[in-house]
């Protein structure tokens, strides 16, 4: 992503005063439980989980497959209503999906029948952004895909598609950016590049980010705060503040504080997966 040459900084500045202002993007998850199905056959995906994400914070939710990460994120996005408990964003209870909470999925979320430009423009058009085209151009440039404006998603590489996904989610100037394993389908190298680019974009917008992953390295590299979840039932078992300074680079992977934090995370996960293994086999 070429954040270097931004042509329409005026727009960015104008809007970021609204989006990036540190007063917006507070997420309060209060004793949320999510149960799928009814009666005996119900699955408790998330159990009595509480979590507060400060405005502008970058939080990674880490945990094994099926521990309820996506479910928790979906209740913030408004896709799933908590069975009990409540989710508030900036003090307002969440009742459904909305353009104030941008969402980036793992893959296949760009509309295949729209070009890069049209996909990014969709949000601005739907929220009746009077400068929809200008906004779209700006984000198109931000993710460095101006050359590919008329390409359909099927004509883009996986990494390019995810860049469009991020641009699309940001183009409604949400106060919160929710990302569900956005780099999970990319190969290791592209993934590293995308992580760095994401931090670059984030440093510009200062939006609150909730980022779901099951890659420990990824969470350590990205997050201000790492929230570790465990399965059966899904709940938060640990929270770690990340001492690594910003701006970050992949070189930090050999720093002692990086390694220490990674070890802490791994220990919790190992302990939890052993417990899960025993639960399964008993």
């Amino acid at each position: 992503m070429s954040v270097n040459q931004m042509p329409t900084l005026s727009i960015a500045a104008a809007k970021s005063s609204k989006a990036g202002s540190q007063s917006r993007g507070l997420i309060e998850i209060d004793k949320v439980s999510v149960v799928f199905g009814k009666g005996d056959q119900g699955t408790t995906a998330v159990q009595e989980t509480s979590l507060v994400v400060e405005p502008g914070q970058f939080v990674c939710i880490l945990g094994p497959s099926g521990c309820g990460k996506s479910t928790l994120l979906n209740s913030v996005a408004g896709y799933t209503s908590p069975t009990t408990g409540s989710v508030c964003v900036d003090g307002e209870p969440v009742v459904g999906p909305g353009p104030d909470r941008g969402m980036v999925f793992q893959q296949y979320s760009l509309l295949p029948w729209k070009t890069t430009f049209e996909n990014i423009a969709l949000g601005p058009r739907l929220v009746k952004d009077i400068e929809a085209t200008k906004t779209t151009e700006y984000f198109l440039d931000m993710v460095g895909l101006t050359k590919y404006r008329n390409h359909y998603p099927a004509e883009l590489s996986g990494g390019m598609q995810q860049r469009v996904g991020i641009a699309r989610a940001l183009a409604t100037f949400p106060s919160v950016l929710l990302m569900d394993e956005p780099f999970g389908a990319l190969d290791a190298q592209t993934r590293l590049v995308m992580q760095e680019s994401l931090l670059e974009v984030w440093s510009q917008f200062g939006t609150t980010v909730v980022f779901v992953t099951h890659d420990v390295d990824e969470s350590v590299f990205l997050a201000d705060k790492i929230v570790v979840m465990s399965a059966s039932p899904g709940k938060v078992v640990a929270e770690f503040d990340n001492p690594l300074p910003r701006p970050r680079s992949q070189d930090m992977a050999t720093r002692p504080d990086y390694i220490a934090l990674k070890k802490q995370c791994l220990d919790v996960i190992r302990a939890e997966s052993l417990r899960a293994f025993e639960l399964q086999n008993s």
Partner: protein, 277 residues
């Protein structure tokens, strides 16, 4: 020099796999044609049953300019195409909205599905007997038959198409602030488009196979009627000529449907330009 380059280009073109396949296919068609000429020229085949290619050609020219039983070939083809296309258009008009409703609501699906599943496997000609009783021998029973032949394919494809839409598309678009109507316009219709088109192509193909059946009762024009009538008088040259026209028209219809699909849905032509990453 120029000739050698031309020859080299030719050799290269022959060696490319897609051209090679085309050449083999052409050879096989040509050999079939040769066999046809051979058996008719040598008298191995009775010309009453298998006329030679030139007899077919003459029948074609004659039907084209003189006509067959009061209508020229183009009129016959036109009449048939009009029947097929108007019935098919009606079937789409009814089938696509019904299919969208059935795809989006389980209740609507449960209400209509038993009837569709029951009448779908029925032989059209069996149904036709009833339609003729109810609607008479005129155009309406023909159109009704073709309509009923086309309907289930379109409905089933549309239901499938709507059900198969990736739920992520819906969620993502909702998160961008779309209302229900905006969702249908931006996601459901274009998302279901390609599958609906495929269903329409299959359905049109099936309507096409029912054409002759629709034209054997009380028709006075139509390519299917022409074949049926000519067969009564042992005019095998006209029968074979008619079948060839039917085959070519069928292929042409399918190609046109594809082209319409491409024109309406340009993204289905898009292919990945990057392998991965």
């Amino acid at each position: 020099m120029t000739f050698r380059r031309w020859l080299a280009t030719l050799t290269q073109m022959v060696q490319r796999p897609e051209n090679r396949r085309f050449i083999i296919s052409s050879c096989s068609v040509l050999m079939m044609f040769g066999a046809w000429v051979f058996v008719t020229k040598t008298g191995l085949a009775n010309p009453l049953f298998l006329p030679g290619p030139e007899a077919i050609y003459l029948a074609f020219v004659d039907a084209l300019f003189e006509g067959y039983q009061g209508s020229t070939l183009l009129e016959h083809v036109g009449t048939s195409l009009f029947r097929i296309l108007s019935a098919f258009f009606l079937a789409c008009l009814v089938g696509i909205p019904l299919g969208v409703a059935m795809g989006m609501s389980k209740t609507a699906h449960a209400i209509f599905n038993p009837f569709i599943e029951f009448y779908r496997p029925l032989p059209p000609l069996g149904l036709y007997t009833l339609l003729v009783m109810w609607l008479g021998i005129g155009e309406s029973s023909k159109l009704a038959l073709l309509f009923l032949a086309g309907l289930p394919g379109i409905i089933i494809a549309t239901v499938q198409a709507v059900k198969d839409i990736n739920p992520t598309y819906v969620l993502a678009t909702k998160s961008l602030g779309a209302s229900r109507m905006e969702l249908i316009r931006e996601v459901y219709l274009p998302g279901a488009g390609p599958t609906i088109l495929t269903g329409m192509r299959i359905s049109l193909g099936f309507v096409y196979t029912v054409l002759v059946a629709a034209e054997i009762v009380a028709a006075t024009a139509g390519i299917g009627w022409m074949i049926w009538d000519a067969a009564k008088f042992l005019l095998s040259d006209i029968v074979i000529m008619g079948l060839i026209i039917l085959g070519l028209t069928g292929i042409a219809l399918d190609v046109i449907m594809r082209l319409i699909g491409f024109a309406l849905m340009p993204w289905t032509r898009a292919t990945r330009q990057f392998s991965k990453s």
